[in-house]
Every structure is written in C-alpha cells, then in structure tokens.
Symmetry: C2
C-alpha cells in the first residue's frame, strides 16, 4: 500500500525516497471489517482517510431514518467528514465500508504539519482538493440536469468498479432516488 500512496502523490509532485518515507510515517495503516464505523454521527473527527483497498461510503441519516450517501470512496480516494474536521464540530455523517477495506489514516494535525513543512505537499493537496471540487460540481449539475436514469448511466460509466461491489440500493441512495425507482429504470417495459 506504500506503493499506491507514493504513486498517488507522484502523479502531482516528485518525491525522493526519504521525502516519501517521511510523509509515510505520518500515516497509520488500518484494516476495517464490514459495518465497522470510522466515523459516527456526533463524533469528533480528527482523521482523513486514504483508501487502499475496498470501498467506503459516507452518508447521513435523515429524520425519517433514510440514508443519503454523500460519497463512495474507492482505492486512491480520500474521505472524511470535512465539515467536522475543519471546524471541530461534531460529525453529521457516518463513514463505514461497504464490504471491508484497508485504509491509511492521517490526522488533521499531521496533514497540516506536512503541508507547513513541505511546500510541495501543500501544493499536492491544493491540486487534489481542486479536482475534488470539480467532481462535486459535476455531481450537482447532474442532480439538477439529469433524470435518475441518466445519472445512473453516467455513474456506471465513470466508476464501473462500483457496479461490482456496491448493492443497487446504495447506488439509489447516492443518486437520490428510492431503490424501487432505480429498479424500474432499466425495465421500462411499457
């Protein structure tokens, strides 16, 4: 998993062995099993997670006990409750794995420390967040513009890996429709 993280950084910045080792020492490796929470609503959040293997999901539970999935995180993706992380407020989200996962965890303090010590690490995270920002904008546009069927097709085209791992009812919750509606989409049969 060290290799995966290094390649991830080196897509944006170049690192010597010792630089990367230094960075890597700020992470903690962790395996989690299905249904094990990394974050629960109400928690204080101190960590950000880099997915090495498996698939995580972050979601909220609304007042009707329905889940709404904010994000799936496949290998190579970062995930946390950034709202809670940034301003120290209690989390409004849950974060767990779809089916077991391996992750590298870094505390906010360590991330800020690395960014302060190494300009290029700060550059890396700026670029990274920038891309994440664009991805979220795309998702908002697809929620505003497309119907559920188109959103579903876009999603599968963009992340075919999700199709293999993730039950359709979770995809429905990500797309903003009920599982029944999603089920009816691809059997128009009229």
């Amino acid at each position: 998993m060290k290799k995966l993280l290094r390649e991830h950084f080196e897509k944006i910045i170049a690192l010597t062995d010792s630089e990367f080792d230094y960075i890597y020492d700020h992470f903690v490796f962790k395996k989690i099993i299905k249904h094990q929470f990394l974050i629960q609503q109400g928690d204080r959040v101190h960590n950000e997670y880099f997915v090495v293997k498996g698939c995580l999901k972050s979601y909220m539970i609304d007042s009707d006990d329905k889940a709404h999935i904010l994000q799936f995180a496949l290998p190579d993706w970062w995930v946390s409750d950034y709202q809670a992380l940034n301003n120290g407020s209690p989390s409004t989200l849950y974060l767990d794995s779809v089916d077991g996962a391996e992750i590298l965890s870094i505390t906010m303090e360590n991330k800020d420390k690395l960014c302060a010590e190494m300009h290029k690490v700060e550059h890396f995270f700026r670029k990274k967040t920038n891309w994440g920002y664009v991805a979220l904008q795309q998702r908002i546009l697809s929620l505003l513009n497309s119907n559920a069927k188109d959103r579903y097709e876009q999603l599968l085209k963009q992340y075919p890996a999700l199709f293999k791992t993730v039950p359709k009812q979770l995809l429905a919750s990500y797309l903003g429709v009920t599982r029944e509606t999603l089920s009816r989409l691809y059997t128009p049969a009229k």
Copy 2:
C-alpha cells in the same frame, strides 16, 4: 476593492504591505454590465474571478434550453469554470452577472505563479478550496435530503443577500425546481 481582497486573504494568512501589493499586481479589475458574459459555453477559460461587488451566476444550459445554476457568487467569493480551467477543455458553463458587477480577475498562470513563489498563498488557496468543497458537499446533501421548501429556507437563511438581488426564477433554477413550483411553496393555502 483592494481593501476587500486584502481582508479576504488576511482571514487566513498574514501579509506585509509589500507582499500584498505584489499579489494585487497579478489581478485585473473589471466592471461588467448586466448580461455581459465572462465565460460562454465553448470558451477556453484562463481566468478565475473574485467578486468585489454585485452577484455573478454560473450555469449550464441543457438540451431542452433550460438553465441550471451551479453557483451564485456574491462579494468575497471566487468563481470560474474550474473544470475547463483545470484541464484546458472548452467550457460547458456560462458565467455572467445577475445585475452588473465589479470583479478582480486573475489568470491561472498568475495564480499558480503566486502559489509557487509564496508558500502561504498556496496555503491560503488550499484552505479556501477546502471550505468550498465542504459547501458543495452540504449542497449535495440538501439536494438528496431536503424537499424544495426546506432547501429554499436554508438558502435564504444562509445567504439573505440573494433574496434582495436575485429574481426568484433564478433561485428556483439553483434549487432544482421550476419557478412555478417555487412560487407555490410559500402559499400552501390548502
């Protein structure tokens, strides 16, 4: 407007007069009138915009000629087509003002240059984008979780300034409903 920009930076990083002057020299001031485009679909995008006065809107036009508003930008906000800006692809968005505006414009090259030259400027933009990322996540959750009425109330509570400036049909387009539906929301009268 120099003051506004400086205060904006100094919420996150401290700057000497000469440092700020240097930064400021990389911006270009511009007034735009109603219906004047900063970006049109198909354009190559080279600039990011900081709003000094007025209100901008970025939006897409779908295949049925309906507009979907991605973002309103009030004073103190940054806006562009970040997707087009980041990967040099033609813009899919339009960016113009709701009713005339004053802006400070910076090219991507100059922004990257400032970030490379001054670590703290890079830090500033990392933090800034981070908050933007959180705001977008909140918007996605409200699209998934809340009905149009609640979204409308949240929006007005969070940005009362929009209520004054922006026609309701644009707010409807931002919220993801038709103007008729929005109109009916606050006259339940049943």
